[in-house]
């Protein structure tokens, strides 16, 4: 993965129609974006289609990237996640099949050693998530990583949808307060 500064330069070049820069940007970010959409869509054919649309959108929309609002990779991941979640919500036939390893969220939290290598912002966010009650940590991480709706989360965690809704709200507001302090 390239540094954020390199990705900003590549996005700038892409916004001027630089195809070589576009290929470099693709090479630097494709595994991250594909991982994100595949995790949500869980079907390679859908992920292939969505990832093409996402990169075409990045190609035509690179000029709209605002480094003051987001890092290049989070901007690109946001485009990819929004598109994947949009699609998965509109496709009733993409059911949540049983997926036991998805419940193993402990493995999703980077261990403390690995965390030392992460950027300051990531460490702060992870620290705030770790301060939530364990069940709510799982809730937030499963929601993000798998792109699950409240209904899917309720089914997975065996809780009523309203409980999930309340937990999500409280967890997100706690994260906001924790990050703000």
């Amino acid at each position: 993965m390239s540094t954020p500064a390199e990705l900003v330069q590549l996005l700038n070049a892409v916004s001027r129609g630089d195809r070589v820069a576009f290929e470099q940007l693709y090479t630097a970010t494709r595994a991250k974006l594909y991982g994100v959409v595949l995790r949500i869509l869980r079907r390679h054919d859908l992920a292939d289609e969505v990832i093409q649309e996402v990169y075409l959108k990045i190609w035509s929309g690179a000029g709209q990237f605002n480094p003051g609002l987001a890092s290049p990779i989070t901007w690109m991941v946001t485009i990819a996640r929004n598109r994947a979640i949009d699609l998965v919500r509109k496709r009733a036939e993409v059911s949540i099949e049983e997926e036991p390893e998805a419940m193993d969220v402990a493995a999703d939290l980077p261990n403390p050693l690995a965390r030392r290598e992460l950027a300051e912002e990531v460490r702060r966010l992870m620290g705030c998530i770790e301060r939530l009650e364990p069940e709510r940590q799982s809730l937030v991480l499963l929601a993000y990583r798998n792109g699950w709706s409240r209904e899917q989360l309720a089914a997975k965690l065996g809780k009523p949808v309203n409980t999930i809704k309340t937990w999500l709200r409280r967890s997100l507001l706690e994260i906001r307060e924790c990050l703000g302090s």
Binding site: G35, L38, A70, R89, K90, A119, Y144
Partner: protein, 244 residues
């Protein structure tokens, strides 16, 4: 929960990805139309964006890049996005013209000329206080044309093409302005006739009418049961000032 907490939670859950399809449609409409809400969403994107570190990278198959290149080459190669955009726009106007018959076509040509070369319009053809909005799909296909004449307080909307909603559903028209705390407000449901949007719009000052975003959503038969859009919002647009 207060209105502000509801907005905050909606923005946060949108970014986290837990909303259902109807809520996502509503958020997308609000992102277009409600700048303070868009700012909230961007703040949450910044807060939660780094969560992508918990997702393990997966190499995409090689054909993905080949297909991206093929799709790029299927569009004019020189000049990049701008030309593609203009071509799309031209195609859009053309499809509008074909679909909507001579009257709407000339009206839209008028708008197109006004948009791209306003100096070509002779002064007498610039009627005062007249506006038009083409409510289009994301892909540029027009769905409804709305006209406003503030002087005579006449407001009308009509479908382009059949105007038929999906079976068992109704089209409902909305407008939203940044000052509307409760989100979009209804302008009426399309039945076998078009809604009387004038009944509502005549009560609003021109600043609101002119700067609002107009949209048509797909609702249960007879209209939204909640008073807010509950279904997808396929069509939206803003008024274009025909005077300037």
């Amino acid at each position: 929960m207060t209105v502000n907490e509801d907005r905050e939670a909606l923005a946060a859950e949108y970014v986290l990805g837990t909303l259902d399809a109807d809520e996502i449609a509503r958020v997308q409409l609000m992102l277009e139309t409600d700048p303070p809400f868009a700012t909230l969403v961007h703040a949450w994107e910044k807060k939660l964006g780094e969560l992508h570190h918990i997702v393990e990278p997966v190499e995409p198959p090689a054909h993905v890049w080949r297909r991206i290149v093929a799709r790029l080459d299927g569009t004019p190669a020189e000049g990049g996005a701008e030309i593609v955009d203009l071509t799309k726009r031209l195609r859009r106007w053309r499809s509008v013209a074909m679909l909507s018959g001579a009257l709407a076509a000339s009206l839209l040509l008028f708008v197109a000329v006004k948009e791209t070369a306003p100096h070509l319009l002779p002064a007498p053809l610039r009627p005062a206080e007249r506006f038009v909005a083409v409510l289009q799909e994301g892909n540029g296909s027009p769905g409804f044309v709305m006209t406003v004449d503030l002087r005579s307080k006449s407001f009308s909307v009509r479908p382009v093409g059949s105007g038929a909603a999906p079976a068992g559903r109704s089209y409902q028209m909305w407008f939203v302005h940044p000052t509307f705390a409760g989100g979009p407000r209804s302008l009426g449901v399309f039945t076998d006739r078009v809604p009387d949007i004038a009944a509502t719009l005549a009560q609003y000052p021109p600043e609101i009418v002119n700067n609002a975003t107009y949209a048509v959503s797909i609702e249960p038969l007879g209209g939204s049961p909640t008073g807010s859009p509950t279904g997808p919002v396929p069509y939206h647009g803003k008024l274009i000032d025909l005077d300037r």
